[in-house]
Amino acid sequence: MSDFTTDPMDATRIERALDRSSWFRGKIHYYHSVDSTNTVALAQAARGDPEASVYVADGQLQGRGKLGRSWYSKPGAGIYASILLRPNIEPRRIPLLTLLAAVVVVEAIAQVLQEAVRCELMDNSPPALDIKWPNDVLLNGRKFCGILSEMVLLGNDTKHAVVGLGLNVHQDSFPPPLDVSATSLFIETGRHFGRADVLAAILKKFETWYIDFSQRRFDKVISRWSELSTYAGGRNVTVEKEGRAISGVTRGLDRSGALLLERANGSIETIVAGEIFD
């Protein structure tokens, strides 16, 4: 196993790849190793760091997934970043940010891949991008990006939210049991993309989409998500929800971003949280 180890990343490299007017300029915080970038972001948010601060680590010791699960965060191999937001939007709308983040990653990676094809760095068959509800980003059907978001309230108002991203970039293999479900940009393309450039592409897209979100164009986010995901409609899936498995056919998203699932008896179940299996 020989993961690529010569892709140094730091705040300067990321900022150089951003536009001069980027919302994120001057607010990139780079760490060699942290427990979890989300934990750092939440702590810094409480200390008053401004909106659009980004916390990036070369590796995470306790990269977090949903409900205490871990995120495999091999140093030097992935992008581990958390974005601090202070949206002036009521809490019940904030979960939509997690769908928005998946749209951002798909659009950014599609652009990076197209650019590589255009520069003849890759042949003309980039891997297929997909989103599994709510926000797992897949390359050729395997997960290469996970998104975990957290929100903090002050009374009934949104105080801040943190969107955490974990992207597999340079890994050439994964330990079991991840080997069957996980993949990386390198595995799917045979090419090592620079992490600073990939992250900058993501932040650029994020800025554009976050303006839409802040201006309450929630339907636009849902509609774009639905265009980019094969899970949006007509797909047979099983959802593990509150300890029980529910099978059905996906029938799009409701206005909040919840997944609509048509059961065998014709009833529609609204899935707000749960794990999707093919």
Binding site: K66, L67, G68, R69, P91, R92, I94, P95, L96, L97, T98, L99, P134, N135, I147, L148, S149, E150, M151, V152, L153, G155, N156, A161, K241, E242, G243, S256, G257, A258, V272, A273, G274
Partner: protein
């Protein structure tokens, strides 16, 4: 009618001081009769729920008592109610199989984490906005919750 709608109905009945209510839909009949409307006698003003409920809609004795207590105590002086800020799934602890953040009887401070409500992989830590004693937890772990649904009753600390 699911559990959250039933709870909402009970709340509405109590808050609007309705003494008797009957509802029937698709073979499910719910009758609520209150002997002492709110204000007459705080302690005894518990709604009485009667079956039959459909399979899957039945409430255990503890659950029924819990709802009755919530409805009766939710507006009582000195009791603070923590509600869900979003629609989602309620988790009483940081991950499955570990101890809940708080138990009934625990003292909590302003800012103490009580639970997580998850929607679409957005984890929302619900914190207490008061100091006091947890006197009831109204939702079971891993259950769906509605926006504004009551989750915890906190007896405010005196003084």
């Amino acid at each position: 009618m699911d559990l959250s709608e039933l709870k909402e109905l009970l709340r509405t009945v109590v808050e609007n001081d309705i003494s008797e209510f009957e509802y029937e839909e698709a073979g499910v009949r719910i009758r609520i009769k209150r002997d002492h409307p709110a204000g007459a006698s705080g302690e005894d003003s518990r709604p009485i729920t009667e079956s039959p409920f459909n399979a899957g809609h039945s409430l255990g004795g503890d659950e029924r008592q819990s709802i009755a207590k919530a409805a009766a105590q939710g507006t009582a002086a000195g009791i603070h109610t923590i509600v869900s800020p979003i629609v989602g799934t309620f988790y009483n602890g940081p991950s499955p199989g570990v101890d809940p953040f708080v138990h009934v009887g625990d003292m909590v401070q302003e800012g103490t984490v009580l639970c997580i409500v998850e929607a679409m992989k957005l984890m929302n830590e619900v914190k207490s906005d008061v100091s006091g004693k947890v006197i009831d937890i109204l939702v079971e772990n891993s259950q769906p919750v509605e926006y504004g649904q009551k989750l915890y009753l906190i007896q405010l600390r005196k003084g």
